[in-house]
Each structure stands twice: as structure tokens, then as C-alpha cells.
């Protein structure tokens, strides 16, 4: 069973238009909630029961996050959507914005109703100009049809929604850095606690969820928590978008039930390119530790299975590597990325990511030293867990994963000053 949640209208021509979204029952759930005046707590309970976990990468239960905000608390509250899709390998939220923007809008209005917020922002990464324009058109359509703005569908409930464009910074995908960015500052993460539910955007209670999480909401409320939960497996409710790329024939975004075997996903993506052998898979975006290909072929795509194998499902970004790849070179590129994107706030990350890159770079370029692998091991433990946000961990984990599974390739590089591969 594919394309049942965020991609439920993907088969329609010009699926992003309001009339097409309406033809699949779009905005019916919102209309029903507003008409029946469903108690907000009930909505939060349904989201909780559905097993939906944050689709941006952290996997935190969405309903639980919402329950941290009291609906009746006085003052302004905000709903923020994180469309700052930047984890290398991830390209699913772009497709939601391009092909199903109304479902995200409906999800955000419902989220606003559930927590008692009247304003929302969708933070779209600055490079996503075309998805931004598509989303803006959808906002205009929704406004003129009465699904957004003052007194939605005559219910007395107000909700206004705006886009905010980023300008190129991976770190703004971190939720508090994103809030700083909306406030017109450089995107440096805040200390937590206080969490955004208590002190978020403009200092007000805020929920911040990934695009895919929010776009899943209307379907969960339409078909019920049990239905959604049963799509997936224990501890991983629902279906999920997987962005699969690398050395494969048919890369793309596939919406499949949680718990689907990786081998099925690979088959959907056309299998390995040029008939080559699968060497390794990065299962959840470049921050997730690598898993050897053979082991990956036995795994299912859900939080627990991937965690048991020592990695994480993350944002569902699957990068498949064939046996022509030098793992030292792959790690060098990833380490460069984290060095480039460290916001510079915490010393272990600011300095450590540079150290990681320089050491991997010297191994790759034939200047590695026998003690370098122990040095890398040591450095990762001095970065991970010692920073305000998870970027430090994200820089350390790929190094740890590579050294765990492909250590001999690194040793060969150091000893022979060249690749084991090619």
C-alpha cells in the first residue's frame, strides 16, 4: 500500500490546486472540526494515539509535543512548520510543498485550533523558491475559499498563516535556531529548557513540527488514529515518505508503510545502477551512521529496526552506495559539510568539526598517520553530547559509523596512501 497519507493525491493532474485537493476530501476534516466544535483536547489525543512521530528526524511523538501547550493558556501562541529541509539526502518536504501544499495548510490550521494558536509560519529554506511560490499560491487559494484568515467557515476561529524564507543555513533546521531565524537573527540554537512549548517564537508558547508531520494530520483525523497506527508497526505508526538516492536506477520519494523491508524500497527505486553490488546504506540522512549493504538488505524501515542496527531512521533519507565508492572519500565529504555548517556557537562543534574534516581529509589525500583512527575515535567522544544542539552529534555519528564498519578501508588508505577501491 503506497501513497495513502501525504501523497494521497499524487495521481491527480495538477494535484496542488485547491479543487483537486477538495476532490479527495481535502478541508472536510477542518470543516467538520469547526462545525462540531470538537474539543481541542480530543484532537491532541487522536494525534497521540496515532503513533505519529516527528518526521523531520528526531522522531519525537507529535501528539505529546502538542500536549505540552495548554489550550487555555492566555496570550499569543504560534504554530511553526519546519520546511527547512537540509539534511543531506532528504528531499521529501519539497514534494509536499510542490504537490500537496493544501494538506500542509489544513494540517497547520487544525494544529492551531488544537493548541489555541491564531498565527502560523511556514519556514521554507531559501533555495526552495519554486516550492515557496507553489505554497504561496495555495495560501491565496485557501484564503479566498475561507479556509484561512478571520472567522474560518463562519466558526469564529481565526488562523493566519505566512511563509518565511530562509537564506541558506543547515542549522536552521534545528527548531530553536529556526525560531531565532524568524526573529531576524542569525540561526544559532537556544539552550533548552525552556522548550518552545513554553518559550518559543517571540517568547510565546509555540509548537514546531516538520512539514510531513503536519501534512499527515488531516488524514489521521479523517481515517482515525487506529487506521494510521496500523499502517505501520509497533512503535512506528503510519506510513512515511522515504527519499532514496545514490547509486540507484530510480531515485525519488516513496510513501510506504513503516516497517516495509529495505529490499522492497530498493526494488521500488529500480535497484542498483549498472548492476553493481550494494556496499553501504546511510539510512536516515547523512547524520545517521552508515550500515553495510548486506546487513541493510535484511532490515525493515522503521525506528526500532534501524536503531537496533546502530543507526537511526532520521528523516527517512536513504543514500545507497555501491561498491565503486571509497568510504574515506564519502566520509571526507560528509565531514566537510558539518564543518561548513557548524554555527560556531559551541567550541566542541566549531573546532571539532574542523578537526574531523582535516584528519579525514589527510587520510583521503594520502597523508594519513597510523594514529589517526584512534584520534578520530577520541575526537568524536569529545564532540558528541557536549554541545547545545545535535549538530555536534550529527558530525560525530557518521565518523563513528564509518570506523565501526569500514575501518579496514581507512587503515588501507593510511598504509598504502591510496584507495582500496578503484
Amino acid at each position: 500500500m503506497v501513497n495513502e497519507v501525504c501523497f494521497r493525491n499524487m495521481d491527480l493532474d495538477r494535484s496542488w490546486l485547491l479543487e483537486q485537493y477538495r476532490s479527495r476530501g481535502g478541508y472536510d476534516v477542518l470543516a467538520r472540526i469547526l462545525q462540531e466544535r470538537t474539543p481541542p483536547g480530543e484532537i491532541v489525543d487522536i494525534v497521540k494515539a496515532s503513533g505519529l512521530r516527528g518526521r523531520g528526524g528526531a522522531g519525537f511523538p507529535t501528539g505529546l509535543k502538542w500536549s505540552f501547550i495548554s489550550h487555555n493558556a492566555p496570550g499569543q501562541k504560534y504554530v511553526v512548520c519546519n520546511s527547512d529541509e537540509g539534511e543531506p539526502g532528504t528531499f521529501k518536504d519539497r514534494d509536499i510543498l510542490r504537490y500537496n501544499p493544501h494538506q500542509l495548510i489544513e494540517g497547520m490550521v487544525i494544529a492551531g485550533y488544537a493548541i489555541g494558536a491564531t498565527v502560523g509560519y511556514n519556514y521554507i529554506r531559501g533555495e526552495f523558491w519554486e516550492p515557496y511560490e507553489r505554497f504561496e499560491e495555495a495560501l491565496a487559494e485557501a484564503r479566498s475559499a475561507g479556509f484561512l484568515g478571520k472567522d474560518i467557515l463562519g466558526s469564529g476561529f481565526d488562523f493566519e498563516l505566512h511563509s518565511h524564507l530562509g537564506a541558506g543555513a543547515y542549522i536552521c533546521g534545528e527548531e530553536t535556531a529556526l525560531l531565532e531565524s524568524i526573529e531576524g537573527k542569525k540561526g544559532q540554537p537556544r539552550y533548552k529548557p525552556p522548550f518552545p512549548a513554553h518559550f518559543g517564537l517571540y517568547g510565546c508558547p509555540t509548537i514546531i513540527n516538520n512539514t510531513e508531520s503536519l501534512a499527515s494530520i488531516p488524514v489521521i483525523l479523517e481515517k482515525g488514529a487506529e487506521w494510521f497506527k496500523n499502517l505501520g508497526v509497533e512503535n512506528s505508526g503510519g506510513a512515511k515518505l522515504f527519499s532514496i538516492s545514490g547509486n540507484i536506477n530510480n531515485p525519488g520519494v516513496f510513501e510506504i508503510p513503516m516497517g516495509t523491508p529495505f529490499s522492497t524500497l530498493l526494488e521500488m527505486a529500480g535497484g542498483m545502477k549498472n548492476g553493481r553490488k550494494i556496499k553501504a546504506v546511510i539510512p536516515g540522512g547523512s547524520s545517521a551512521p552508515v550500515i553495510p549493504g548486506e546487513q541493510m538488505m535484511e532490515l525493515t524501515m522503521d525506528y526500532d529496526a534501524i536503531a537496533k542496527a546502530g543507526s537511526m531512521l532520521g528523516s527517512g533519507a536513504v543514500i545507497v552506495l555501491d561498491d565503486s565508492n571509497c568510504m574515506v572519500k564519502v566520509l571526507e565529504r560528509m565531514s566537510y559539510f558539518y564543518h561548513e555548517e557548524s554555527c560556531g556557537q559551541c567550541t566542541p562543534c566549531r573546532e571539532g568539526t574542523g578537526w574531523l574534516y582535516r584528519v579525514v581529509n589527510r587520510i583521503e589525500s594520502g597523508r594519513g598517520r597510523p594514529e589517526d583512527l584512534a584520534l578520530l575515535d577520541d575526537m568524536t567522544t569529545k564532540i558528541a553530547g557536549r554541545t547545545i544542539c545535535a549538530l555536534g552529534d550529527a558530525a560525530a555519528m557518521p565518523v563513528q559509523g564509518m570506523l565501526r564498519h569500514f575501518r579496514s578501508e581507512f587503515e588501507y588508505h593510511i598504509e598504502h596512501k591510496r584507495c582500496l577501491v578503484g
Binding site: G168, G184, S243
Partner: protein
């Protein structure tokens, strides 16, 4: 706990804001300001910098950043911080067409090295440089979230995916 979250507006608002930018530009910036709460016009700084940069042929100058600061009642240093933090702002002149090539893992394993090499040769520049005729700047960027179409680059607002030398020739020929 007495957390406070105030805008960094510590400067005295300037009087004659009409003189800072053209009326078209002001209308655009004002449209962004209207999205944010009263007193939080600094939330529009990113959009304002983007608009001003585009209006100036693709890069920001100190004078322009100061004008943005004045327009949004911000301290100039707060605007410089934003302009230097985010990778899409340019503080040096760039070519008419900025070609942003992704070289991250999914693009790399699909031949982004060859794409960069081809572009460098064709345009006669290295990564980070601008061609002598001022037409092209070649820039290496991090993952642009289009890994399904690797290798890819962005020019202006548009993504070009599944690149090959032939496709690059026709894309560049088609640019105005």
C-alpha cells in the same frame, strides 16, 4: 522565570525612510513586515536583504546593509550578522548568473566532480570565481534537497537536475 524576548531594536528610528529605497522595494519589504507582530519588523530582515541584493545585481554592500538596518530600526551590526551568517547573501560582486553546484554525497556519487570540472573548463573559472566577462559565478553549495535529481545545480531561482555536459550546454545557452 522571567524570560524576556525583545527585538534587538536599540536604535532610534530614522525619520525619512522613504529616501532609503525605491517605492517598489519599500512595498515589497513592507509586505514582509506585515507578516510579523507589531514591533518585530526585524523579522523581515532576511527577506529585505534578499530583495535588496537582487535589486543590486546579486550582492550586498555595507551601504545597502546600513539602509536595511535603518529601514527596520535595527543596529547595523545586527544586519551584518545576518548577512554574513546565511550562505545565500553575497558581500562581494557576483556574475549575472550565479551557478550553485551541489557536491554533497548523493550528487558526488552521481558525478558532481565531473560537472564541476566541465563547468570550470567551459567558463574558465574555478569554484568560487567569477568569469572575466562578469556573466557567471561558479559556487559550490551544500545539499539543496534535490538528491533524487543528482547531480544538480541552481541558477537564480531555478533548479536544474540530472545534469550532463550536453544539458549544461543547452541550459547556459538558454540563459538571457
Amino acid at each position: 522565570m522571567g524570560f524576556k524576548n525583545l527585538p534587538m531594536t536599540t536604535v532610534k528610528p530614522v525619520g525619512n525612510k522613504e529616501a532609503l529605497f525605491s517605492s517598489e522595494l519599500r512595498a515589497e519589504i513592507d509586505r514582509w513586515i506585515s507578516k510579523y507582530p507589531e514591533g518585530w519588523q526585524q523579522s523581515a530582515v532576511m527577506a529585505a536583504l534578499d530583495l535588496v541584493q537582487a535589486d543590486n545585481g546579486g550582492h550586498l554592500t555595507t551601504e545597502l546593509m546600513d539602509k536595511v538596518a535603518a529601514y527596520l530600526d535595527m543596529a547595523p551590526i545586527a544586519v551584518y550578522e545576518v548577512a554574513s551568517f546565511y550562505s545565500m547573501y553575497e558581500r562581494k560582486p557576483v556574475g549575472k548568473h550565479k551557478i550553485c553546484v551541489c557536491t554533497n554525497v548523493s550528487c558526488m556519487v552521481n558525478g558532481s566532480d565531473r560537472i564541476v570540472e566541465y563547468l570550470e573548463k567551459k567558463l574558465g573559472v574555478k569554484l568560487g570565481q567569477t568569469s572575466q566577462d562578469g556573466q557567471y559565478t561558479l559556487k559550490e553549495v551544500e545539499c539543496l534537497g534535490a538528491c533524487g535529481g543528482a547531480p544538480m545545480f541552481q541558477i537564480g531561482h531555478k533548479y536544474y537536475e540530472n545534469l550532463s555536459p550536453e544539458l549544461i550546454d543547452s541550459i547556459l545557452d538558454g540563459l538571457e
